[in-house]
Symmetry: C2
Subunit: 286 residues, 2 copies
């Protein structure tokens, strides 16, 4: 197999054609750039905080953003999940060094608990903590947008999960750019249209280190498998659905207030993060 | 197998337990009644126009509504699809007689075209014509709500189809009761939570005639198959998703106006039905 662009030895397929490593990298980065443009994800002069876990998706995202020359720093959140978190932090440090991006680290431990104190089926605690800490760090440090490494399958499986579990905000949150308001910082998803497979091949092509290991607390992949299955039966299912979701009109959050404990935005008296802190607080960490 | 309620010979399973014919009918009708209640589908004194095609779903719906003693008439729309439409009308007449419900018939032919003039892939023409004629007939004849026989799989496959094809109103219309406004009459779906299988077994249990034949212009069933497939993998997928959709907040249609040709409500200068009439008009029908 030869590269469709330069006739060098092919590395892998990207959207129907084979490319060599260099051309694969080029095509992938062009695709991310056009996704960012299509959805007007980044406005001129915006300072970006990129969430970096050390997995293939966040590594791919940080790498692409750093090569586009944006005003950029990274944030790693240490969730305290034993060996997994130790390795995550190690790789995040390595990646930040390779890409020459400043890395910030926030540790959940400083709030008195870690995700190790949380049962596997309470996995929403982890997502809540990440969103809370990212938002607070970004705002308190003058960032305009938070970039996360959500890929196409992440967005769609979140969508299905919310639809299935009756989450009221099931569709609004699955957008490439969600405008901030009040204390909430704008969030963007530069890899909105990229698949997991494409992200993996990109970090491999660029020979970047990444954490291959799955988080031991990771939720089941059943929704992702369902999405792959539908895509096999209905080609372009993923991309078409994502573009519909992206076009969805936004609705305003009508009733928000400030958490009595920490002052962050919430719809309840005490925000979910503070309720989790109270529930899972571990005296040994104090 | 014995009936779980009366120990008579079992007929079929309904939501996990076997019932005899009579108890199956009872359980099914109770389920429809509780769906109508749950979603406050019918308000006191409302006059209902039930759409009757003659297929299993619409026959089941009309039968249940007639047994609940609502103020009720039926409407059959003759789309002019050759032999299929002839049989549909015949069965609709029979059903109306058996159930002692007044049947109204509107013919698409009187507008100068039939669905026979339309290519199979233009199947949205048929749905548009049905909605248009139902709405107009209901309003002009003083009905408060239009009831259609959409079952759980219909709602979900419409939802998926819209999500896939980028239809802007992809989620709002998949509700058990859609309030009318201006010239639009309220629509309800009494079988919102009933499956095709349950509807079929009900009409069989009641020994009612129905048109088994599929419409020759019927769209592919691939979305329904996908929904069955997901339900096998994730039990309660259908019911959970339907309840999420039902809870979705409504958004107002912001820019509507009146069609320059017929005066019905539309978002464009000339409504889709009138554009279809112009496109497919068949001089032989005039």
């Amino acid at each position: 197999m030869k590269c469709a662009r330069c006739k060098e030895k092919a590395f892998e397929k990207f959207r129907g054609r084979y490319y060599c490593t260099n051309c694969f990298i080029k095509k992938y980065e062009e695709a991310v750039k056009s996704t960012i443009k299509r959805y007007k994800m980044i406005k001129e002069g915006e300072k970006i905080l990129a969430a970096l876990s050390g997995g293939k998706d966040s590594v791919a995202m940080l790498s692409v953003l750093s090569r586009f020359g944006f005003d950029l720093e990274a944030l790693h959140i240490d969730l305290g999940i034993g060996d997994y978190s130790r390795k995550s932090l190690e790789i995040s440090n390595k990646i930040a060094e390779i890409l020459n991006v400043e890395l910030n680290v926030v540790s959940l431990k400083s709030y008195g608990f870690t995700v190790d104190d949380v049962k596997k089926k309470e996995c929403s605690v982890c997502g809540n903590a990440k969103r809370y800490l990212m938002n607070r760090f970004a705002r308190e440090n003058g960032f305009d947008v938070i970039a996360t490494g959500h890929c196409a399958e992440d967005i769609l499986s979140n969508f299905f999960k919310n639809l299935y579990s009756g989450n009221v905000e099931w569709s609004e949150k699955q957008k490439p750019r969600i405008e901030g308001f009040d204390k909430i910082v704008t969030r963007i998803r530069p890899l909105y249209e990229m698949s997991e497979r494409e992200n993996l091949l990109y970090v491999m092509a660029r020979d970047l280190p990444f954490l291959y290991e799955e988080c031991p607390k990771a939720p089941s992949t059943r929704w992702k498998e369902i999405i792959y299955d539908i895509e096999r039966k209905v080609p372009n299912f993923k991309i078409n659905c994502l573009r519909t979701l992206a076009r969805e009109r936004e609705r305003k959050l009508e009733d928000y207030r400030y958490c009595k404990v920490c002052g962050e935005i919430t719809t309840t008296e005490i925000c979910q993060f503070c309720r989790n802190v109270m529930k899972f607080r571990n005296p040994q960490l104090r």
